[in-house]
Amino acid sequence: MKDDFKIAWRNLWRNKRRTMITSASVFFAVFFAVIMRSVQLGSYDRMIMNFIESYTGYLQVQHVKYQDNPSVDYSFVYSDSLDRAVEGVKDVVSVAPRIESFVLASSGAQTKGVALLAIDPAKEKKFSNPENKLVKYTITSDVFDKIKSSRAIPEEIADKLEMIVGSSYSSRARLELDLGLSSSDNDLYMDNILRASAVPNGFLAENDEGVLVSSRLAGFLKVSIGDTVILLGQGYHGSSAAGIFAVRGIIKMPVADIDSKLIIMTIPAAQKFFDVTGKITSLSVNLTGKSKRTMSGAQAGIGKLLTDKSTVVKTWEDLNPVMVQQIQGDSQTGLATLAMLYFIIFFGIFGTVLMMIAERTREFGVLVAIGMQKNRLKRIVTFEMILLGILGLAGGMTVSAPVIIYFYFNPILMKGDIGKMMEDIGWDAVMPTAWFGPYFYWQVIVVFIMVLIATIYPLRKITKLKVIEALRS
């Protein structure tokens, strides 16, 4: 075996350039495949983390029929003891109760169908944290005229400011990004702009009976802080739900569609409004991680706590089938790209094999003639092929590993429109790599399989080798 390995290793270096080129092709295939897959899986992880942890939670307790028919009729009894019990389940990090439904919102002559989200303001901080989305700055035409007439900013900055008249911002960073000023201009003029555009905004107290209105909806309804909105909807089991609510604050939702139709209130106010005292429509649960084991363990643990048999514990995958499908679809596309990459590389390896066979048929004949069994010859050739694969594989994995580690801890910053969009949504505009996992180790298997397939040809050739013909070749 040792001698076979020695011969295989030396054979590999008979044609250094060819071995280097073939190994390099495997190296690059592995490197790009690993990095591509790592970035892809890393972005999925981040997307899931952003979306799931800030909204649906990894698990959600719901009425069994609620997902198909999101009505307060399918609410369930919620209590602090349930809350505490769920928080006590292994791997549970936080919980957030909610009531979600649809109502008509009206102010003056304006009426619109809107989504109503009732929250526990303290607990919701660990999820969607609406307090962070309160509008802090609004560039109205009055604000613009005031800044311009005060000559607090130069003409070219005024032109930029005019472009965003009508926009609201929940953070200074976002306003700076939209204005696109240089850092020196930021230092010189931002304070003036912020002072003029600052909006005094409020948030919901624990048992507040007021509401937060999304900024586009507030514009449509022509309401601002201190005004009131009338909400009209269907309460529990057909009862009518109607009420007048003071606007405590305006929030800026990053997705335009949601920003044009969201009203947030406290759970006690919503329970009173919908006549669902003591009930909620969902209890979102965040966990320490999203591994199948963690989720199924927590799901089972929470399930045991539910005495109401009409309630179920759903996973984020159950709650977001479209997102899961999108990830799966994108992942499949990524895998197809990798398959093509490997397919091309396979032919590179196979080309080497063909050349090797063409060059060494006579030598194979000599070896068999002087007494080497064909099986031993096959073993040597298989070693050569495996070593060829290992060279590229080891190189690819060794070089890609530090790249993965670096970008895991220093994610790629997303710039441009994609970056803005991600920040608008409230996500980190970064694209990290995924930490080492099966995708990394799978490269070994893929390359190994490729090499074995490519080895079939020389093994077949050796099996069918006719010594006389080989010696004449």
Binding site: R10, E363, V366, I370, R376, I468, L471
Partner: protein, 228 residues
């Protein structure tokens, strides 16, 4: 002592439109320590006969018996094993394993036969010294001249003490000096090792040194002269 026996051996190639009778009804015996040259014009069947004797090809009819074993009765893997243990080969184009050194090439067959390391080393050095390459044991074939490579090939053929060595035109690619040196070495080893050498050759120097000359024509043995 008889080491090789050919009984009415025929080899007919059916591949072309007209069957070619490459070896025609050949019956020969070879004894231990013979130094035999098989001569004849091109196409007379010399190489085919050597291939049949070496078990590299199978006769269309007849029997080839080496040390009591009929080659036709052996399975493919048994035949390879039999060759390894009983027959040494010297090829016209040397055919050393290019990635192995002279020493490794010579000990290759012994390692296939699982000889103990110490015996292998001793035998290898003995043979490489005998062929005058004791100072080139770590050279790869690409670093040796044609004559030196052929001497390594002779050492390799003799390494495992086969019953006989088959050499197909061993001097064809060598210059005169190298050929003479090689023949001298082979004759010495033939005497020293008591191993039968069978050559196919056109080279009159080989013929001159042979103790027995078998002449072939159109696949038939037309003469078999033993010299004193």
């Amino acid at each position: 002592m008889k080491v090789l026996e050919l009984k009415k051996v025929n080899k007919i190639y059916d591949g072309s439109e007209v069957p070619v009778h490459a070896v025609n009804d050949v019956s020969l015996d070879f004894d231990e320590a013979e130094f035999v040259a098989i001569v004849g014009p091109s196409g007379s069947g010399k190489t085919t006969l050597l291939n049949l004797i070496g078990g590299l090809d199978m006769p269309s009819s007849g029997e080839i018996i080496i040390d009591g074993t009929n080659l036709s009765k052996l399975k493919s893997s048994q035949l390879i094993d039999f060759r390894m243990r009983n027959i040494g080969f010297v090829f016209q184009a040397y055919n050393l394993i290019p990635v192995l050194t002279a020493k490794e090439n010579v000990e290759f067959i012994m390692s296939l036969q699982k000889w103990p390391r110490k015996e292998r080393d001793e035998r290898t050095l003995e043979l490489l010294n005998a062929v005058g390459l004791g100072d080139r044991i770590n050279s790869r074939p690409s670093k040796l001249s044609g004559g030196q490579q052929q001497r390594v090939a002779v050492a390799r053929a003799l390494a495992s003490r086969p019953k006989f060595v088959l050499a197909d035109e061993p001097t064809a690619n060598l210059d005169s000096k190298s050929a003479t040196t090689l023949l001298g070495i082979m004759e010495t080893l033939n005497h020293g090792e008591k191993i039968t050498f069978i050559f196919s050759t056109h080279d009159p120097r080989v013929v001159k040194m042979a103790h027995r000359v078998i002449t072939l024509e159109d696949g038939r043995v037309i003469s078999d002269d033993v010299r004193e």
